[in-house]
């Protein structure tokens, strides 16, 4: 089980801020594919991965990163702080 978090418009499209996901995925990309296969709202949120960023256990990473041992995977658009 991994805790999956969503922020900004990714959260709005999926409709929830976080959920526990039972996954067989080895990488972030595989996790995204599993989610997209679930329901159209995930497909809508992840339709263009070039506009989505990912963090594993609160560290920025990429979609090919392994998720084994991860407690938290977060998806969000490019950040707009400052």
């Amino acid at each position: 089980m991994v805790e999956v978090l969503y922020f900004s418009w990714v959260r709005e499209r999926i409709g929830i801020p976080r959920e526990s996901v039972d996954t067989k995925a080895n990488t972030v990309r595989q996790l995204v594919d599993e989610l997209k296969a679930r329901e159209p709202r995930y497909d809508m949120a992840f339709s263009d991965l070039s506009s989505v960023r990912v963090a594993i256990d609160q560290e920025l990473t990429d979609f090919d990163a392994p998720i084994s041992g991860a407690r938290e995977v977060a998806f969000f658009p490019p950040m707009t702080g400052g």
Binding site: S8, R11, E59, L60, F76, P77, M79, T80, G81, G82
Partner: protein
């Protein structure tokens, strides 16, 4: 090295005063404050800032440590707000104290560039015409490249 993430309004002048007062080891202080900007074309009623609690603090600490490794700083202050903001409200501020002004200026600019696109904040604007998430700019990413030299 104070870092504060808060929803409350802050007083820029009071923060600078508290940060600098009593310090005799710094010859230069630079401060920057980002403010919610109003627009005549598409009036902004409010701004909502979302953040990733936990990662926000971690990533800002990391950015601060990088700044301290690159320049000789006496201290730095970073405040960033989240939640509901109105036009004219301060969004965030950075202040740096250094022996000399060059370190203070450069470190402040570096901190700003990194806070813009490496700290997990997202801004949503509510305008007369509707609401929308602020998109990141390519120039924000390009701004980071100059520091990697």
């Amino acid at each position: 090295m104070p870092v504060r993430i808060q929803s409350n309004l802050f007083d820029i002048g009071a923060e600078i005063e508290a940060f600098q007062s009593g310090r005799t080891d710094a010859g230069a202080m630079v401060s920057f404050c980002g403010i919610v900007r109003q627009s005549e074309d598409a009036p902004l009623s409010r701004m909502l800032i979302e953040h990733y609690a936990g990662m926000t603090e971690k990533s800002i600490r990391k950015i601060e440590l990088e700044a301290r490794a690159k320049w000789s700083l006496v201290d730095c202050l970073i405040i960033h707000r989240f939640g509901e903001l109105e036009p004219g409200d301060p969004i965030m501020m950075v202040a740096t104290l250094a022996e000399h002004r060059s370190d203070a200026f450069q470190a402040a600019e570096f901190l700003m560039d990194y806070l813009k696109s490496r700290a997990p904040f997202w801004k949503k604007e509510f305008r007369t015409g509707g609401e929308s998430w602020v998109a990141s700019k390519e120039s924000d990413e390009a701004a980071l490249e100059r520091w990697s030299e």
